[in-house]
């Protein structure tokens, strides 16, 4: 049997005494596309960061083409022919494709100037080889997202890459762009390049991958040929080994069952394709679906961030239109956004300033003078109510932990007394204790009569809090379930994948 292109064995890694990888093995053959799967916190990204030299492993061995290698820095990884294509692309939009591909290692003329001719020629050959329809002189900013990825791949190949890691490569691509990517993957395979393919989309994995490896809880669970591992057992492995388990408690619905928010046929240029649903007073409604299926985009549209091209929204039966977050706030909406550091908080400002920002006009007099004593009192109250751990309300927000920062985002909205609270990945990147607290908080809010929309990629979380779950696909709601009727996480995973 041929020597594998990559062999990782006995890989272990801990952070602050917490084991994130334990004795994990992974093998990649030449010209193989190998899916790496597992839930959040399974250890996929840590394993890949070790392979690309971002982290150093505590124990274990990496062999490339049978020879043991040491990978301690990203430069080492590159030297051994390992490249990763990130979800967020690392291209400079104002440069051309050729300039991007050779950025930092441009071929030089004898006089020491950049050899543009050679740069263009090498790129042209590379693109021809990949059979992609781009010119070296194309400006990256003018190209579609799909071509950005092609450029990244071309860049990786120009560095003599033998092992290519793709992390959710299709999440930002359209169907057609995905097709182009899949055929490119076929060509790369035939050239002997090995690919590690990280994705949550089963359909794709069954289409392009030869083998599947599943990690769970930092351990290796299973590796087998795609043909011998059916979707049910894959889902079983992933769901069965989730790090965090939350109990679902049936909750008395506080409201009178009246629909507070009615959305029908909502469309935007940002993927929404006619979203229709109803949210009842006091209800927690979950949005499930793959990345790019329209969950987050629905929240953005309702909050007046993305413009609507069609559709109707009613609150308490009255038609409303949100053209800006300000309109949405006036309609009683609040949004805890996906990226709390970028969209939720002014990190350099005090805790109190962040908490008071949305409701600042409520504590201001007619001339716009802010009543600071009232503001401080309100902030103190919310810090206490949500048990936010901070020395003082005057502390710089950046210095708090992720969980406490997220609670501040909750506090700033609760201080504004919204009726409908929209949560986008409310527990992303925070520790398990804070997660539990936030999940309890969401339940309590609904019990107090708030109506809540939750988007989450962590199905355990959706199952723990929701009264009802909608499944999104391709910019529409394709299915809905009462929580009572869902027996297990596997069932929900099926609903998302088996569309």
């Amino acid at each position: 049997m041929a020597v594998p292109a990559l062999q990782m064995s006995g890989i272990s890694k801990s952070f602050n005494g917490i084991k994130v990888l334990q004795d994990v093995g992974f093998e990649l053959l030449r010209g193989e596309v190998h899916a790496l799967m597992g839930g959040n916190g399974a250890g996929k990204s840590t394993l890949m960061k070790i392979l690309t030299g971002v982290y150093e492993m505590d124990a274990g061995q990496i062999r490339i083409d049978g020879n043991e290698v040491k990978i301690q820095t990203p430069a080492d990884a590159e030297k051994h022919g390992i490249s990763m294509i990130f979800q967020e692309f690392s291209l400079v939009p104002t440069l051309t494709v050729a300039q991007n591909i050779f950025l930092g290692r441009e071929p030089k003329t004898k006089a020491g100037f950049i050899d543009d001719k050679q740069c263009t020629e090498l790129t042209r050959r590379l693109l021809e080889d990949l059979e992609v329809d781009m010119k070296p002189s194309d400006l990256v900013a003018d190209l579609g997202v799909g071509f950005w990825q092609m450029t990244e791949i071309a860049k990786a190949l120009s560095k003599e890459t033998k092992i290519l890691i793709m992390d959710e490569p299709t999440s930002s691509l359209t169907k057609r762009e995905s097709e182009i990517l899949f055929s490119l993957i076929e060509r790369l395979k035939s050239r002997g390049i090995s690919i590690i393919y990280i994705s949550h989309r089963m359909e794709e994995i069954y289409r392009v991958c030869d083998r599947i490896t599943i990690l769970g809880d930092g351990r290796h669970l299973v590796t087998d040929d795609t043909s011998r591992l059916d979707m049910d057992s894959v889902i079983g492995h992933i769901a069965g080994k989730n790090l965090d388990k939350f109990e679902w408690k049936e909750r008395p619905v506080s409201g009178n069952g009246e629909a507070i928010l009615q959305v029908s046929g909502l469309k935007t240029d940002n993927r929404l394709n006619g979203v229709t649903f109803e949210l009842k007073q006091g209800e927690i409604l979950g949005f499930a679906g793959l990345m790019g299926s329209g969950r987050t985009e629905t929240l953005r549209a309702l909050f007046g961030i993305d413009a609507w091209t069609d559709g109707e929204v009613r609150i308490h039966g009255k038609p409303v239109r949100m053209k800006s977050p300000k309109d949405a706030i006036r309609c009683g909406l609040a949004l805890v956004p996906e990226d709390r550091r970028e969209q939720g908080l002014v990190l350099e400002h005090e805790v109190k300033d962040n908490i008071m920002l949305p409701s600042i006009s409520k504590i201001a007099g007619p001339l716009g003078f802010v009543n600071d004593r009232k503001g401080n009192r309100n902030s103190e109250e919310w810090v206490r109510k949500l048990s936010i751990k901070t020395d003082s309300i005057h502390k710089t927000t950046r210095l708090l932990s992720g969980g406490n920062q997220q609670k501040i985002v909750f506090a700033k909205w609760l201080a504004n007394a919204p009726e409908i609270i929209m949560l986008d990945e409310p527990t992303i990147g925070i520790d398990i204790r804070a997660k539990t607290e936030i999940i309890d908080m969401i339940r309590d809010l609904a019990t107090e009569g708030k109506s809540i929309l939750v988007v989450s990629s962590e199905l355990t979380e959706l199952l723990a809090v929701c009264d009802r779950i909608l499944v999104f696909h391709d910019g529409r709601v394709v299915n809905q379930y009462n929580r009572k009727d869902i027996q297990s996480e596997e069932e929900l995973q099926h609903a998302i994948q088996y569309f």
Binding site: S324, A328, H349, S361, L367, F369, L399
Partner: protein, 325 residues
């Protein structure tokens, strides 16, 4: 929670450092002032006459710097203030010359500033051109108009009341310019610290996205700070006109740089989100004090420029870490 306590300790240490750095401009000002007071005592540095001189010389920069504090806090910039001042000095002088009286001159001067500032704001927010470019262009346009309307000729101001109110008068021993500076600074301080507009300006500069997601009308905030900066530059132009008894296209030349230096020296972050009007005024006074002291010391202009530049770079270098880390 071992990590919590160590984090808390680090925070305490950090806070102590932060405060020290945040107040660097006050410390620097006291040091500079004390140094001149001791070494130049016999040369009359400390006389009330000289102190009032410093105030007069810095007043117009201080006033424009107060408005610039808002612009920079919102993470924008306004390079056109000097040219706006020049044009406003001429429009108000022309209004007087044509017999529209003091009210006419005020409308002309402030109107010029407000109009140009609003156009700046409109181009930045509605046409999405970076403020650096918009105001760089506007700097040339306003200056060009200032040269054109009188064919570069100065316009004398004979109205003594106008001159008295706008810059050349003294109430007892107190220059009217000092009163203008105080009034603008107090208004600026209160608006930045105590009103919703001030908080929204800081939030916009601190994180535009988060501000938008919190319901702040980011575009309107930016438009308003740029319009206000133009308006105040118009006032500055009238003060030049009143002080010099004329309108001239050369007034305010290079002021934009002194104004920005005063703001940054005062502790306002060039990246937005952190701003202080009091710091700005102290920053402006410090530049003025250095100027004044170096002149009394008998240094020639070239030496003054070098020393002034070095002090500005040093002070900002010390203060900068407070904002960045």
């Amino acid at each position: 929670m071992q990590s919590n306590t160590s984090e808390a300790k680090a925070t305490v240490a950090w806070t102590r450092k932060f405060n020290w750095r945040q107040y660097i401009v006050y410390i620097a000002f006291i040091v500079v002032f004390a140094y001149f007071a001791i070494t130049l005592n016999s040369d009359g540095f400390l006389t009330s006459n000289n102190i009032m001189n410093i105030v007069r010389q810095t007043a117009i920069i201080s006033i424009m710097a107060v408005a610039m504090t808002f612009v920079i806090s919102a993470a924008e910039i306004d390079l056109s203030v000097g040219s706006i001042a020049a044009l406003a000095s001429l429009t108000s002088a022309l209004a007087l010359e044509h017999g529209y009286g003091i009210m006419g001159a005020i409308v002309a001067g402030l109107g010029t500033g407000l109009a140009i500032g609003t156009v700046n704001g409109w181009l930045v927010t509605k046409v999405s051109i970076p403020s650096f470019l918009v105001t760089l262009g506007m700097m040339g346009i306003a200056k060009g108009f200032a040269m054109w309307i009188t064919d570069t000729a100065p316009v004398p101001i004979l109205n003594e009341n106008f001159s008295y109110i706008f810059g050349s008068g003294d109430i007892g021993k107190i220059p009217v310019l000092l009163i203008w500076t105080l009034v603008i600074a107090v208004i600026g301080h209160v608006v930045l610290r105590k009103t919703t507009f001030g908080r929204r300006t800081l939030a916009t500069g601190g994180n535009q996205n988060a501000a938008r997601f919190s319901g702040v009308n980011v575009a309107r905030t930016k438009l308003m700070v740029l319009a206000a900066s133009g308006l105040i530059a118009g006032l500055a132009g009238m003060l030049y006109a009143g002080r010099m008894h004329s309108g001239r296209f050369t007034f305010g030349e290079g002021d934009e740089l002194s104004v920005i230096a005063a703001v940054i020296l005062g502790g306002t972050s060039l990246f937005g989100g952190v701003g202080t009007v009091v710091g700005t005024v102290i920053g402006s006074l410090m530049i003025g004090t250095i100027n004044n002291g170096l002149i009394i010391m008998g240094l020639d202009v070239s030496q003054q420029m070098i020393i002034k530049g070095l002090i500005i770079i040093l002070a900002v270098a010390f203060g900068r870490k407070a904002v960045n880390k």
